[in-house]
Symmetry: C2
Subunit: 192 residues, 2 copies
Amino acid sequence: MSHMGYGCLMAVDREHVLRSAAALLTRRATATMDEVAKAAGISRATLHRQFAGRDALVRALEELGIQECEAALDAARLDDDTAREAVRRLVREFESAAGLLGFLYTENQLFEGEEQNAGWARIDARIAALFRRGQQSGEFRIDLTPAWLTEALYGLFASGAWAVSEGRVAAKDFQYMIVELLLGGALRREES
Amino acid sequence: MSHMGYGCLMAVDREHVLRSAAALLTRRATATMDEVAKAAGISRATLHRQFAGRDALVRALEELGIQECEAALDAARLDDDTAREAVRRLVREFESAAGLLGFLYTENQLFEGEEQNAGWARIDARIAALFRRGQQSGEFRIDLTPAWLTEALYGLFASGAWAVSEGRVAAKDFQYMIVELLLGGALRREES
DNA sequence: CCCGCGTGAGACATGTATGTCTCATATGGG
DNA sequence: CCCATATGAGACATACATGTCTCACGCGGG
């Protein structure tokens, strides 16, 4: 009876394992597969049955991160309103994914050799397009390239998440600090 | 004749090894001790004679990074001029150290357990003091805390260095992009 | 010329994370 | 009630970086 594929009793749900792994690896990027398994409340054997290895797990987390980003981008409705309002929504929607993103961001530097997942290029393109729209509408400065503004946003997310986890910035100020610094730099001077 | 301590033939010079290691680890944070040795043009044995282990090497690199930062801070003369000019000088002086800083920044997250080197706190304090001076002089906004501005500067350095190494930003624009984005956010609106 | 010192090369042991396997168990469905 | 299936526990081999050691070589000084 292999026709069911999913349903049935299906003990561990992949989703929960991924969430636990994301939460743990966000804090300790070097956590062991054993620790990941414990964090998810399953045995290392079962973890390994679902993800062929640490590599596969990280790739799956990457997929998850990409999905969350694209969902956040959808929810932020980047084409509506003024560009700066869209940026605010973007930061708001991204906050919950900031931790995972930070992990993947540094983890990607270790994949150096291989080509990176095409999903990131799509996400980069959507965010860069938002900044470009803002430039064309006259809201944003044109001397800072959309590509750089995109990278800078990532960097601010990373340091923001880090600062919060270190207690140097209050969690409730996370969005405000990032948006205000980024927009203040991206908006033209004669801005409200 | 142990009274010389340094001079003599003293084959490998510690400085050169550190520089090579910094250059390599900046690109590939997971490089092997063997690769580090090869990059420095010495054998693993000799490398190990100078630095008791990978840990010791990273600590030494941390010391080097701290020294470079403090030298950059001195050279930037943070107390002179307007705060924004001081920030420009700061970014300029920091550029050459950006790669090493990026490596140490992510590496520090792995030390999570142990207390971090007091040097970083000193550096943080000096930079935060600059932002605070700018706030008190009325140049900078007061709704973004000095601590956050400091962290944000680190984040922008990291993403800037990364973007340059990935070819998304031209190396010659590195300083400009960072300074303009940061200052645009830190300066009050009615700014030149 | 000989000796000492630092180096390079490599063998060897170690620790650790990982991948793989087996087996007992429990749970749920037929 | 019995069986299938997935899980948990643990043993086991492997790969790899690391730490340690020995030994031969070369260079410079006495």
